[in-house]
């Protein structure tokens, strides 16, 4: 790629960075610890909610939060990325939903959260990963859940955790696994 149009290498870098951001969302939604961990360099720093420390320690906390959730969804959008050689800075939007147990009432609730990740990316050994992340909250909402609709559907039609969700079989099928 060294003799390629520099505009195209930046475009390819942005695409690779976008897919790290999407993989983070999948890691949370499917409670896929390997996917989540693969987004961060070993020394990446994290500053999100009440947590400040190493990103890989944040992954431990995130897994403890998402594993028991009945449902979890993260949508990533609005990626504004600036690439400078092997470093990049990025702002993206997230929207998240957790169906969780309210610790005070013991009842289920829907928790919605919208915000942004301010990230520094670094390319090391050819791979773009997050080198530092700050999470900012713009929107939060808590509502009593409704059991109309999707929960009456067969279990295999409802999103599941790693490795049971159908996305893993689908990806394996392309690699000749199934």
């Amino acid at each position: 790629m060294s003799d390629a149009d520099p505009r195209l290498t930046v475009l390819a870098d942005k695409q690779e960075i976008a897919e790290v951001l999407y993989r983070y969302a999948r890691g949370c939604d499917r409670a896929d610890e390997a996917a989540l961990r693969s987004c961060f360099h070993a020394d990446s720093r994290h500053n999100h909610g009440l947590y400040e420390g190493l990103s890989h320690d944040f992954v431990d906390r995130a897994m403890a939060i998402v594993r028991p959730l009945k449902a979890c969804k993260h949508i990533i959008s609005n990626m504004l990325i600036t690439v400078d050689g092997d470093a990049a800075v990025s702002e993206c939007h997230y929207w998240a939903h957790h169906r969780r147990i309210n610790e005070q009432t013991g009842r289920e609730e829907d928790y919605y959260s919208g915000g942004r990740y301010l990230d520094r990316f670094e390319r090391r050994d050819g791979a773009w990963k997050i080198a530092s992340r700050t999470g900012i909250s713009d929107f939060e909402r808590y509502d009593a859940p409704s059991d109309r609709g999707m929960w009456q559907m067969p279990a295999e039609k409802i999103g599941a955790k790693h490795p049971d969700d159908p996305v893993y079989a689908l990806e394996a099928s392309l690699r000749g696994g199934k």
């Binding site: 149009d5 999100h48 959008s77 702002e91 713009d138």
Partner: protein, 172 residues
């Protein structure tokens, strides 16, 4: 289509998509300069409640949003048709608005689409016309979750961490 023209189309689509992301950042952070920069100076905007020139739209929307507690816009489903130095786009938006009604905090969740015409002048794409269409919306009372949450809560320019990170060279 040659490889070169496919790459040029891909680059144009990326630039045009980033116009909407910068538009959203400008609205969410109340960044007048940034909002002005996504339109051509002779551009126009039709938001229903306001229709007119782009500079007048910027004045109108900055005034409206300044009265709200917080705004957050997500964009997706960006479909762009390129025709030389002109392009047409449909861009989905989801807006989360926090404001007071009779002294009580409410959340509005709204979704819709921007129907855009873009133009490339001297190699730069900007919005020439934007029409904002609403598809659905709901408003509900909200908890004041921001109270006591400290510095990791979104704010407006220049208080949002985005701008402080910029000074540190961490974020653009």
């Amino acid at each position: 289509m040659s490889a070169d023209s496919r790459f040029e189309a891909l680059l144009a689509r990326q630039e045009i998509a980033e116009l909407s992301y910068r538009y959203s950042r400008a609205c969410d952070r109340l960044d007048r300069e940034l909002l002005t920069s996504v339109y051509w100076p002779d551009g126009t905007d039709d938001h229903g409640a306001f229709a007119g020139s782009a500079p007048d739209y910027v004045d109108w929307v900055m005034g409206l949003l300044a009265g709200w507690v917080a705004v957050h816009h997500d964009n997706g489903n960006i479909l762009i048709e390129l025709e030389g130095d002109t392009a047409f786009g449909e861009v989905h938006w989801t807006g989360y608005y926090s404001y007071e009604i009779d002294g009580r905090l409410h959340d509005q969740l709204a979704v819709g689409r921007y129907l855009d015409r873009y133009e490339r002048r001297s190699g730069e794409w900007r919005i020439l016309h934007r029409t904002c269409v609403s598809d659905w919306s709901r408003v509900e009372p909200a908890l004041d979750w921001r109270k006591g949450r400290g510095r990791l809560v979104g704010a407006r320019k220049p208080d949002d961490l985005l701008y402080r990170h910029r000074q540190l060279g961490i974020v653009p």
